[in-house]
Symmetry: C2
Subunit: 390 residues, 2 copies
């Protein structure tokens, strides 16, 4: 059984999910986590992401991570018989989601203009590179392209060095999050108005929304912000420092913390240095303060420093890798790494659901992702039963 994994706030909501690869599937994965039934409608060849590594016994962990808890039926939307099945699915659905290039659904005869008349309560959610309007609407996009185009790479990295890609797919994941907000908002709206809506989310738009502070900064100063390596643009000390055995961040975000930090460094003199008397002054004299601090921190290990900073209430951390964060003592109690038990891949750990809502369970295991077309017979049976009772 790969039906919805648990009762949730979206139980009873059915999503017909045409999305592929990442932005759309991430969004519908969250809906499934919240209790929605997500029926993935794949081409007979299956979602391309099934071919993305790493693989466990030949099954893609990439795919499982963002498709767990969904059902699958393969349909060729150019075939009349399969179109009839798709029509029947839409008739019973609350949401249809797609992340094709704009125009694709229209060519298939399933554009919003057609659907809204046939299914006036259906919510149509589209997530694309550039949106369904505007002169660049039909251009292709990938995460890498919108990261470059949307400005986030221009503020990430070391000044004067090669531009850095944000290590997770913020282009796709960011758009997936806004798409999710839009879908749930449309569900709420429909509960009051009875009407479906079209949601039109663009990956590029989402990059601008994510970089709101840099946009406001440019709006206020006319100067485009640049990358700052491991530090914050307007708070000091609030950055990465080298230690004896690695790196750490210290975020002494106000005067009280700064003064406590100086005591821990055994440099009470810095507290009274007029160059460092306020955050604004520390920010202006960041380079000299960094040099003072760096020398001291470099003499001891990250663990040693954390042993002093944590009890003093100064926010600080080593730079965890994905393995060390999964072992962090706060992660298991928050159930943020959950397990799927896949018939092919076996037991696999994936990220949990950060939306913790009282009154709904957050079990430690999730249903796995389906094989292509795995739920066809059951879904067709349901549609037949519904046709008989109608």
């Amino acid at each position: 059984m790969t039906t919805q994994q648990t009762q949730g706030p979206l139980s009873g909501v059915t999503v017909i999910d045409l999305t592929r690869v990442l932005a759309g599937p991430y969004s519908t994965m969250i809906l499934a986590e919240l209790g929605a039934r997500v029926i993935k409608v794949e081409t007979p060849g299956g979602d391309d992401a099934r071919e993305y590594g790493p693989f466990v016994n030949g099954k893609s962990a990439y795919f499982i991570s963002v498709n767990r808890g969904k059902e699958s039926i393969a349909l060729d939307l150019k075939d009349d018989g399969d179109r009839a099945v798709f029509d029947a699915l839409l008739a019973g659905a609350d949401v249809v989601a797609e992340n094709f290039r704009p125009g694709t659904m229209e060519k298939l005869g399933y554009g919003w203009d057609e659907l809204k008349d046939r299914y006036p309560a259906l919510i149509y959610a589209a997530c694309s590179g550039f949106g369904h309007t505007g002169p660049h609407s039909k251009r292709p996009a990938y995460d890498m392209v919108v990261q470059a185009m949307g400005g986030i790479m221009s503020i990430t990295g070391q000044p004067g060095q090669e531009p850095i890609r944000v290590g997770m797919s913020i282009g796709d994941i960011g758009a997936g999050l806004f798409t999710t907000i839009g879908i749930v908002t449309a569900l709420y709206d429909r509960a009051r108005t009875g009407r479906g809506r079209k949601l039109d989310v663009s990956m590029l738009d989402c990059q601008i929304a994510l970089c709101e502070n840099a946009v406001a900064r440019y709006g206020a100063t006319g100067k485009a912000p640049g990358p700052l390596g491991g530090r914050h643009p307007s708070i000091t000390p609030f950055q990465t420092f080298r230690t004896l055995d690695g790196w750490m961040v210290v975020a002494a975000g106000n005067d009280v913390m700064f003064r406590r930090f100086c005591d821990i460094l055994d440099r009470a003199d810095l507290k009274d240095d007029p160059r460092y008397a306020s955050n604004n002054l520390r920010n202006e004299n960041q380079a000299s303060l960094e040099a003072e601090i760096e020398t001291i921190l470099a003499a001891r290990s990250t663990a040693d420093w954390l042993g002093l900073l944590d009890p003093a209430g100064i926010p600080a951390s080593g730079i965890n890798n994905i393995g060390t964060v999964m072992a962090h003592p706060q992660v298991e109690p928050r159930n943020m790494v959950v397990e799927v038990d896949d018939p092919t891949a076996g037991r696999l750990k994936v990220a949990g659901n950060p939306i913790k809502l009282s009154g709904y369970e957050d079990p430690p295991a999730r249903a796995t992702a389906p094989d292509v077309d795995q739920d066809r017979e059951r879904i067709l049976g349901e549609l037949a039963a519904r046709a008989v009772s109608a």
Copy 2:
């Protein structure tokens, strides 16, 4: 007037907003964009973010960006008179949102356990560094700390070099997005059940959710992924390249695009090179392929190359800075830079709303952010009128 800026899908929803600085305010800003009435309840000194630069005529652009369209009333929640006002606000509210350190609301007598009995339909949204449960719950956190602790810095940057902070505050903004999903989901849930819920979002949890692919990769292989500079871990060529006058990204995501790319480079021989015959092989031989491509791309300008790549449908882009992305021809038609007209700061450009829903307006201007306590008289008047009519 700083009341809600437009009719939206959340019109009629009232949010009592105790959040400060960034994660919480970003979330309630989205709710305001969707039509909710957001009443910011500040301490008499005001939100700390009012002191964060850059400033325009003394008013913080940082603050305006994430607080536009909200109202403000200043209350001292330790003062009996102000507590009575706060109680009256809660009695008329749909949502109360806070991003204090866990325990703060309980100390004030406004913890969920008290509120849920007094206001059974009230949604209580908490966003904190580590969540309201678990052994690290009460520790302080900032964006910088959860970026370091949550693993994203370990996969961002150049291999072997200093860890890089993601240039926007993904620790705060990511948590703000999940908080928004949770709040709207709870509103939908309440429309069906009549019950309020507690939402408990942790910034650290959200980092794990955002890094889902890296988590699944670690789960599948037991190896923690490292940083890869400007390239994608499993697709090639899909990365940053140097050109004659700067940098660009090319995302030739499949065989067809790779072959077209080779033609544009005038290197048809690469198409038939057995080392590059499939994406898997190109990925294995990334270094040698990169060297081949790099030499050619370095001979011409980014604009020249885009003039060849765009018509061929190969996703590519220069590295925009925030100024150039704001001037991108797709941005104005999508209304992704909007204007506030602030009585102090004047006209200021801020990021627009990427959640485009049919049937609701997306005007090119927004109401600005309020001064501290600006809406006190009107709000008190409303509460008095409500008390009389009750």
